[in-house]
């Protein structure tokens, strides 16, 4: 097992290196000079040159073959890409071009917002999708099953930005029950500790902020949870249907085991493998920052941040944010694979 985990971690390296390479290339291929972007269109030429030198943009992209011909091996490796990898190795993501503050710092501030949203959405999706999937498999072809199947198809077909807009229209504009944007109302103060609104308000005992935070979370969480909920319900149902046909289920029924125990213990345990894969992948997608949901609800998370940075050509943000997301993605996939071993001891690893 430890060996398997080690091998999997090792196999992540080329993938991550590839990801870093792709991000680097994107950043360099997108038209426009970052130095000019920093100084503005009308900057003096020597200022631009100075900034280019500071940023290392005067160095070759990958390797400096001219330096090598002069016998300068260190200079040979002193390129933009190698410098970029070296900085990554010490988690230095550079400064934002427009705001001149370290990207890592903003990332730490913004990531909790995305995480709070994503984890709550996933919690909602699992706590509804899973039982609904189990029940509709158990009562196959019943009315509940029909509603689940149709509902889940509608769920995956729903443009979530449209669902978000519809909710804002109903709950924020017409009924005025819920706030339409942000994490907290302006008049609610909250001391920032972990930057998770709910956790911070519990720690400081600030219940007004807790309620306000929940109200702000309600609509984005529902919008974000819709698709994973539908996918989880469908996957649970079809996986349970497969398992329920097996002989040991009939045996359990014949022995007089209660229905709830058969479903919850015998069937679910064996049907859970594909479900956990889906949950893992969906969590990765949600943590990656739901660009659309965050845009509609003006949620200060990383999805919207990276989107704005792409439009504003703020490369260090794009680079740092995308890299973080890709790493999260890859790590979650690894965790899903490892969790298989615990759920199903029959799977052999070599």
């Amino acid at each position: 097992m430890a060996r398997y985990i080690f091998n999997r971690l090792l196999s992540l390296l080329p993938t991550l290196l590839g990801v870093a390479f792709v991000i680097f290339m994107f950043q360099r291929l997108i038209p426009g000079d970052p130095a000019v972007a920093m100084l503005g269109e009308h900057a003096a030429q020597d200022n631009v040159e100075r900034i280019r030198e500071q940023l290392g943009l005067n160095r070759p992209l990958f390797l400096d073959r001219e330096a090598l011909r002069d016998g300068d091996i260190e200079g040979f490796f002193d390129s933009q890409f190698i410098r970029y990898l070296r900085r990554l190795a010490v988690l230095d993501l550079g400064d934002s071009i427009h705001r001149r503050i370290p990207v890592a710092e903003t990332l730490m501030l913004r990531f909790p917002a995305t995480m709070e949203l994503a984890l709550l959405a996933m919690f909602l999706a699992v706590s509804i999708g899973l039982p609904v999937g189990i029940l509709s498999a158990a009562r196959r072809n019943s009315a509940l099953d029909g509603v689940t199947m149709v509902g889940s198809l509608v769920g995956v077909s729903m443009p979530i930005f449209w669902l978000g807009i519809m909710m804002i229209m109903l709950f924020a504009v017409y009924l005025q029950w819920l706030p339409s944007s942000g994490r907290l109302s302006h008049d609610v103060g909250l001391e920032t500790i972990t930057n998770f609104v709910l956790i911070d308000s519990v720690i400081t005992g600030n219940w007004a902020a807790f309620v306000d935070g929940l109200e702000h979370l309600a609509m984005p969480v529902i919008a974000l949870a819709t698709i994973p909920m539908a996918i989880i319900a469908r996957m649970t149902r079809s996986s349970m249907l497969d398992v329920l046909q097996d002989d040991y289920i009939r045996t359990a029924h014949a022995k007089g085991v209660r229905e709830s125990v058969v479903l919850g213990k015998h069937a679910l345990k064996n049907a859970f493998l594909p479900v956990i894969t889906v949950i893992g992948i969906q969590t990765g997608i949600l943590l990656a920052g739901a660009v659309l949901t965050e845009t509609i609800f003006a949620w200060p998370g990383i999805g919207k941040w990276i989107y704005d940075a792409i439009l504003g050509r703020d490369y260090p943000i794009v680079q740092g944010g995308t890299l973080l997301i890709a790493v999260i993605f890859v790590v979650i996939n690894l965790l899903v694979d490892i969790s298989y071993a615990y759920l199903d001891p029959r799977i052999k690893y070599d």
């Binding site: 390797l63 011909r69 198809l153 509608v154 807009i165 990765g284 920052g289 845009t295 989107y307 792409i310």
Partner: protein, 409 residues
């Protein structure tokens, strides 16, 4: 007890069934499936109206503008205020939303088809080759070709550093030699050392002609390249290289990658199609590869191999027809996904450029006017997106049931 003579019940009555191909069989199952029928109805309505509108209902978005009709609510009959009929109301420029929704369908359909086409062609080809070579292995000629190409690609690096293009050709030749003499010292460390040594001679020797440091670096690279070429590189190597590449694309969340590609290419419907298509490539590659892997386990492939059929014949006559059904299902679902992604890009202002009618862009345009109560400007384009996506999803679901008789739902 009455005797039943064998004349009364012919064998033909129960033992022989009319000959039907898989596709006719699947079609019958498809139309007997309620979900699939519903999906087909929705998809046909969608396709027919948009195609019909595109060719027979003229619309020029560039001249469509009437401020006197700005943000009028839907009416089915002419009223005093609005003389014309607008079943879906009008938008901020006084344009008839019904007309734009119908014409927007053409763009969504186009995006869907082109994007899925890109993913399917490229991803499918990668998956097909990866799966095929992983399980069948390479023929001798293919092994040689693979080794030559690897030698050429890897050799390009020292060739570039030293500025000697013929270095790459020499490394390609080394690959050729390693493939031709693949029995030479097979499996022994001396084989690796032998080819690494030749690599050192090529890279280091030629590099020294330029400068000592160049000779050093190219020599080290030559050793590595020689060692790689000496290994028994076969189908598994090819497959895992391709799939690692796919993993890299998969490591980026879909929307973000599409947004980044559009930021790189510039906004526009065509760029959006390319972006969505690229994002989908690994999905199709994976599905194709796993289908090929399971098909190649079948006896008829073994039979074809043992009768000496060539690789291309096995690939296209025996494997390809048998992986069509998972690909059909995936492509149908993929159309739904592509329409949704195109709408999302349009909503973010990265898809169709105004005034092109596109559902996502129409939503993005109008949702600022929500506070003024113009609900119709956001409701109808959204319903159009949802219904068309739902139609393709229903059809895909039904297709899966129809094409794969083993799965019972």
């Amino acid at each position: 007890m009455t005797e039943i003579s064998s004349d009364e019940i012919g064998v033909a009555d129960f033992a022989v069934r009319e000959h039907r191909s898989l596709w006719i069989d699947a079609w019958r199952r498809l139309i007997s499936n309620r979900t699939a029928r519903l999906g087909m109805v929705v998809v046909s309505i969608f396709v027919l109206t948009t195609v019909f509108a595109h060719f027979f209902w003229e619309y020029d978005p560039r001249t469509d503008l009437d401020y006197s009709l700005k943000l009028k609510s839907p009416n089915l009959f002419p009223t005093e205020e609005v003389a014309s009929i607008h079943p879906f109301g009008t938008d901020k420029l006084g344009r008839d939303i019904f007309r734009r929704v119908v014409h927007g369908g053409w763009n969504s359909l186009r995006v869907g088809l082109v994007a899925v086409g890109i993913s399917l062609l490229i991803g499918g080809l990668f998956g097909l080759l990866a799966g095929f070579y992983e399980s069948i292995g390479l023929s001798r000629a293919e092994k040689i070709l693979l080794r030559v190409v690897i030698g050429l690609i890897l050799g390009a690096l020292p060739a570039w550093i030293a500025g000697q293009f013929y270095q790459a050709l020499l490394f390609a030749a080394l690959g050729l030699a390693a493939a031709v003499f693949d029995k030479f010292l097979a499996g022994k460390p001396t084989r690796v050392a032998f080819f690494a040594g030749i690599g050192l001679l090529i890279g280091g020797g030629l590099g020294l002609l330029v400068a000592p440091a160049v000779g050093l670096v190219c020599g080290v690279l030559g050793i590595a390249i020689g060692a790689v070429l000496s290994l028994p590189l076969g189908g598994t190597f090819f497959s895992s290289t391709v799939m690692r590449g796919m993993d890299i694309i998969l490591a980026f969340p879909g929307y973000l990658l599409a947004i980044a590609i559009v930021a790189f290419l510039g906004p526009g419907l065509e760029k959006g199609m390319i972006a969505i298509g690229i994002v989908g490539i690994p999905v199709y590659a994976r599905i194709t590869r796993s289908s090929v892997l399971s098909v190649t386990q079948k006896e008829y492939i073994l039979a074809a191999q043992s009768t000496g059929e060539g690789h291309s014949r096995i690939l296209f006559r025996h494997i390809f027809p048998n992986i069509l059904s998972p690909l059909t299902v995936q492509s149908t679902m993929g159309l739904a996904g592509a329409i949704l992604s195109a709408a999302a890009l349009g909503f973010l202002g990265l898809g169709a450029i105004p005034p092109t009618p596109e559902w996502g862009a129409m939503l993005g345009d109008s949702y600022k006017y929500l506070a003024s109560g113009a609900w119709w400007a956001v409701v109808f384009p959204g319903v159009a997106i949802m219904l068309s996506v739902l139609g393709f999803n229903l059809l895909g679901d039904g297709l899966r049931d129809a094409l794969d008789p083993k799965i019972q739902t």
